[in-house]
Symmetry: C2
Subunit: 230 residues, 2 copies
Amino acid sequence: MLTQTAIRNVSPRQPATQPHRGPVPSAASQTGTIELMGACMSFGANAEIYGENEPAEYLYKVVSGTVRTYKVLVDGRRQIGAFHLPGDIFGLETGEVHTFSAEAITECKIIVIKRSTVMALAARDNNDVARQMWGLTARELRRLQEHSLVLIKSAEERVAGFLLEMADRVPSGGAVELPMSRQDIADYLGLTIETVSRTLKHLEDAAAIEVPKRRRILLRNRSALRRLNA
Amino acid sequence: MLTQTAIRNVSPRQPATQPHRGPVPSAASQTGTIELMGACMSFGANAEIYGENEPAEYLYKVVSGTVRTYKVLVDGRRQIGAFHLPGDIFGLETGEVHTFSAEAITECKIIVIKRSTVMALAARDNNDVARQMWGLTARELRRLQEHSLVLIKSAEERVAGFLLEMADRVPSGGAVELPMSRQDIADYLGLTIETVSRTLKHLEDAAAIEVPKRRRILLRNRSALRRLNA
DNA sequence: CGATCGCTTGATTCCGATCAACAGGAGTGG
DNA sequence: CCACTCCTGTTGATCGGAATCAAGCGATCG
């Protein structure tokens, strides 16, 4: 068992603990054109799903759990590009290799589909599949375009925007259950954990949110958050 | 002829001066599948090409000149998403409206193609066109994914990275002729003009670059820049 | 029960923003 | 030609927000 911890910055902040396990046939949550062709796999918390620059042989759909995709610079700084929640498809590439790494944040069940299968289908028969792939890519592009605005936002605006984004994606009525750590949030928003923590406090003091448990956040005043979101 | 101009945003830093002119038949620089179907138009410096949330009826290919795409927040902060140089295609959307605004930075010649034409072609005959569209979208996604790393970079790293990016795109051997202002660079990198200016000075002092004219930059030491790019 | 981990809170530092003045062209008109 | 303005970019001084450094705290777990 790896006891290597507490290195913190200088390298992987959340070292992956488990490599791929063999495909574990399991019930898919919903049906569509694509996910019929794949097997369901399980990943433990912090398990690596794939690494940057690895050949992109598969495409993934989250059944349960949460996934982060990220890049790390040589000196250990990490940028999380996206969080993927149940229903989301990720790992879709047109190039030969993955442009990001992917890790399970929590325990995950994920449908894994062979890329070649999809591509062949898109090429031969059905150009509907090709359009579906294009649609997914474009959707991801729009998300990232929106996210690029964080560059010109203050810490408060970033955190407020993040909470609204999460609230939209997990329609659990007023309360947001965060699957990811403060460090993950920080690396997604380009802030430090301390700043994320302090900013949540500010928002709580301003009565915009309530934080009954660390990972559970109630949005008390969405319009205030939206105003902050700039 | 539409004369509707100059409504623009609340506090335009670079107000658009000219609306669309009528299509001006002109020689295309290169041939491909797509640009055969379009007309060439001219835009003056700072002319608006399209606005955010306007219906995305066309798709654009730069023949000459440079284009910026951007979003502005209510309070006037601007984020430039991309610079488009000759050969680049932009304005491609899967949704019904543009997610960014687009303006000519310099005088531009641009091929304008009806979106419906391309889409119809992609749907009916040729699924090669659909794949080409997908490829373009994916390419843009990768660019933006790479750009998202600026969030965790210092001013020096951002500017160094920008210069290398531009040098790659304009293969003019060692020297980079910048078509955009310092303000544009700043809004692309999430910095201020002052910081961009100072950082260029630092890089010059460190003998990594040379700035004989304001818009002309010589990369003296690329490996140093690459090291800074982190 | 200590131990570890994830998070919070406080003190201080520092990078880049802001405020402010100035410099160098480019264009204009006398 | 020069005097003028306008515009873009540079440079300097100061400020401020977030990073960094450093404890401390409260869960969860062996």
